[in-house]
Every structure is written in structure tokens, then in C-alpha cells.
Symmetry: C2
Subunit: 347 residues, 2 copies
Amino acid sequence: MNEKIAETIQKIEPVNFKLMEKAQEKLDNLTKPQGSLGKLEDFARRIVGISGTLSPAIKRKVIFVMAGDHGVAEEEVTFQMVYNFIRGGAGINVLARHMGAEILVVDMGVVKDFPLEESIIRKKIAYGTNNMAKGPAMSKDKAERAIIAGIEVFESELSKKGIDIIGLGEMGIANTTPSSAIVACLTESKVEEVTGRGTGIDEDQFKNKIRVIKQAIEVNHPDPEDGLDVLSKVGGFEIGGLAGCILAAASHQVPIVIDGFISCASALIAIKLAPLVKDYIFASHNSVEKGHKIALKYIGKIPMFDLGMRLGEGTGAALGISFIEAGVKILSQMASFADAGVDKNSR
Amino acid sequence: MNEKIAETIQKIEPVNFKLMEKAQEKLDNLTKPQGSLGKLEDFARRIVGISGTLSPAIKRKVIFVMAGDHGVAEEEVTFQMVYNFIRGGAGINVLARHMGAEILVVDMGVVKDFPLEESIIRKKIAYGTNNMAKGPAMSKDKAERAIIAGIEVFESELSKKGIDIIGLGEMGIANTTPSSAIVACLTESKVEEVTGRGTGIDEDQFKNKIRVIKQAIEVNHPDPEDGLDVLSKVGGFEIGGLAGCILAAASHQVPIVIDGFISCASALIAIKLAPLVKDYIFASHNSVEKGHKIALKYIGKIPMFDLGMRLGEGTGAALGISFIEAGVKILSQMASFADAGVDKNSR
């Protein structure tokens, strides 16, 4: 395996379970019945375990929106939508502003180039993947370069102003297709079980989608024990970039909030490469996309909410970050029974 | 019925369904697949219907936290916790700050008086309710005065700086007991079906709680067709105040976000008094408290999320307001296909 990737993986430590117990003690002394803030308390406790401090603070929130095109699909719209991100008019722009997060848009493999004056992070591995129904979506080398690009984007931002939590977002027309293929391989599920209608296709297109995924798996024989092999054979550049982001964030003790089906597929790859990253990951929403539930169950994550969303872009992750931040503020800002002079036993 | 209450009820109009259709048209032209933001789109559409404008904006968010004591319970802790609200150290203070809402704390019937220098809204109807297991919790007159107090608190704040959305919160040790009684009466459910363990009681206390509620209903015979009768016989001052807030908000076209079981019980009373308010109400979270699900189902509301919370105070409502605001911003800030130059048919 490439040295940079191996180094990053080696730096990932288990989360600090001992400190999580201390966090729970602190939570139990706040002016509320024990456990009455439910998952908000879980979020706070886990952030303590990840960050390694009993007084974590979430200041800089960054959503990495990675874009790439796919050999199996029409292509112009990814480019147009990424432009929309840059201009601030997309769903993820609105929701990130709403909860005070920054967005970093990364071109991992869009079929057209963005003019130099546009502010986008340029990590293009190629102009779209190859058609995975006919052969590997990308070479092993390109798969590694996609992961490395994700690591570099994260580390470059981290070195600038620090990062306290990241959200994952993506844009890539047809990228539920490689995601279904990845989830089918890694969870060893039937293609039909993990394939949905994406952002909207009819019955014929749906049947064709299943056929393409089955063919891609048959033609390429991805090895379910090898995350890199799966990424190269049936993945996408944006999916590889997100996997790199996850590895890098975990290696720097930064929590990761995944969005819907595609970012969850990238999480499966990252976990296959480095099982310890699992404890750094939070699932935000339950997307409409069918395979998402199976993928979440496979990695043992329960989503925070289900608003019937299926847009991607990081929109669910944005809302999820806000919940986690709420939990962390409970831990750091609520008065204890002693502070407030409230009788602990009667509360 | 009291004139002020009758006047308020008369001012409540049906929401504007026609404008909601226009809102959906606008949503369908934004740069996303139709319907792909799920409930965020519902929230936006409903806010349009409630506010009567296609370009709603949520600027001032206010959470009314109403406190009262109950003749069936120990009492000092309500007072102490309200002090904690005033000092800014409670869970609701933290979450309201997190999402940019103001809190207004109202003494509706706490057993002790707050010193004059403390900033609390003083609407005390009495020093706690009577023991409902022995007779009415309050007189009809006091029930009306509690509702009127809620109307006045809302209208006084509205006249100062305007209000775009309200959340409901409460504090009153043992107030899940009257709430279970209210929900049992109004939904005509068995007491056992709508009674839970509140913020934490043991098996013996739980059996006693059920016994008290059954006795209160037997002794008082509240009329399930008369919200005011139910409030006076088995209610609470904070519950009446919240019901008044709901009526007032709806009469001024302001959306209402309920919290957990207690505020839902107040919503049942408000809806019984004025069925049209139902469409002005949003359910935020699914609380752990058992009767909450039954009460929500009865008023046809699906909660936005379930984080296993059971604190009350308005903590769930605070998070819920943030989701509604997200939906409204989607409507007002996202680019349309025409704005962004994105091909509508391929998205």
C-alpha cells in the first residue's frame, strides 16, 4: 500500500474510553435527571473520547463536498451543480450557512475543468471514471491517488485554522450506482437489496441500474476484504476522496459526520482499510436510499433523524453536526447541581 | 367563556392552503430533485401557509418556559430549577443559545415567590394547584386566568419586537401526572396507556402515580368535550398558560413548536378549545414519556426526531425550531434552476 495512506492509518488510535466515563460522570452532575438528554449526552461523551479532552469545543466546522463523474452516466449536470455550490445557491450552501459551517468544494474528477478564477480545490484524478460495467472504474494507482487527495485536502485545511468536526458531502450524477456496488461487495448483500432509485429514475432505468451493478461486480471481481480493490473496481473519485478525508480526520482525532448513502459507502471503504475509524464516525440522517440502512447497520450506526431526505451534498451531515454541537454545549455550558444550588436527589 | 379567550379563538383563521401550493411550486424549481429535501420542504410549505407569505423569514424565535407547582407533589425543586433558567444554566438555556432563540420564563404558579430583582414574567395564578386526587386542581376561574395569562404574555412580547416562531417549554415537578390525566381524558385512553415514569420514579411510585390519576378522574369527572373543564379539574397553571400561548400565537399567524409530553397535553387542550390551531402546531421530538406518542397520534402529528430525550423545559422544541428554520431558508435562499443555469430535466 502507498506510504502516505499507510502512515495515516498507522496514526489512528482507539478513542479514549476512560475519558468517556469521566464525561458521563460530569454529565450526571448537570442540572437534569440522569440520562434525560438521551443521545445529546452520547454525542458529548463520544466527542470527548475522540478529541481526548473533557472540555471539547466545536468551533470550526467544515463540510467537504467532493465531486466526480462516472463512466456509467450522463455528465454535464455534475459540473453545473458544482458551479452552483461555488456560487452559494445549492441546498448544502443554505444548510451549512444555517448552522455555521464552512464548505470546501473539491473537484475529484468532474468531466469538465473549472475556470481558474473559480474557488474550488483542484484534485482531479481523471475526467470521470471508466465504465465499471466493462472493466475497473479506475486503476489501483488512481484509487490510491484519490484517497491521498482526500488526506491532503483535510490536512491542508487543518494546518490553516484547525478543524473541530467535519461533515462529508458529495456530488456526482449517478453515484448511487457505484455506492450500491460498493455496499453490495463489502456487506456481501444482494445487489437488489442495496439498490434504490437515487434522486429519481423510472422502472426501466431502475432495472438497468441493477443490471449494470451486477455486471460490474461480475466483470471485475472486487475483493470484499480489500477496500482499495473495491474502490478501484466499482468506486468513484469523490468516494475515494471522502474515504481519504475520513482516514485523515480520524488520524488527527477529528470527528466525522457522514451524510447519506454515498458518504456511507466511502465510510465502509475507510473502515475496511482501518477498522478503528468506526468510532470516529457519526451517522446523521437515514436517507431514503434503500442500501443506506443496510450499510449503516453493517457499521453499527444508528442515524440521528429521518427527514425523508435524499439530496446528498452533505445536507444531512450539516443538520447532524448541529445536533452534535448541541450535545457538546450541554457538557460544557450547563450548570451542575452544586453550581445551581439545586437538590440533586429530587431532580 | 371568558371574553378575552373567546375573542382570541375567533381571530384564528384556517392556514392558507392555496399559498402552500404556490410554495411547493417554488420548491420544485429549486436546484434539487423534486421532493428530495423531504420534511424540510414540508416545514417551509407549512410556514408559508401559517404566515400567509410566500417569502417567510424566521428572525425572532422565542421559547416560552412556563413554571408551576402541583398539589400532588414535592415542591422546592421547581423553584430552584426556575432560578437555574433565570441564571442561564439549564439545558434549555444552552440549547436556546445554540440555535439563537430567546427564552421567556413565566411564573404561572410556583409555590415560592421570586425576588423582585429577578427577571421573570410574573403571572402567578396561585401557589401551586390543589391536589387533584381530592377535588379540582383549580377553579374554572383560575383555569381561565391561566389561559388568559398565556395569551397576555405572548401578545405583550409580540407587540415589543414581533415574533416569527415560538417554542413551548415547562417546568413543574410532577407535571407528567396532570399531563397523563389530561391525555387520558381528551383521547379517551386508559390511564395505564398514557402514564410513564416522568424524569425517573421507581415501581412503587409509578403504581401510586397511576392510582392518583385514576382517582383524580373519578373524583372530578372532567368532561372530555370541554377543554377548560379538563384543565381546571386535572390540569396545571403552566399547562393552562401554554394553551393560552398556543391560542394567541395561532390568532396572530405565528407557528408553534411543541416540546414533549406536557406541552403536547397543553396542545390537546388548545385544540379542544379551537380545532383550527392544529395546523399551526409542529411536533419536535418523540419523548421517552409513554403517553406522548398517543397524544401526538391523536392530534395527527409526526415528530421530527427521536433522541431519547425526556427533560422537558423546551429542549426538544429548541432543536425542532432549528429544523423548521432550515426548511424556511431552503425556500428563501436556494437558487432555482433558472438562476443557476442547471438543466432541470437531468437533476
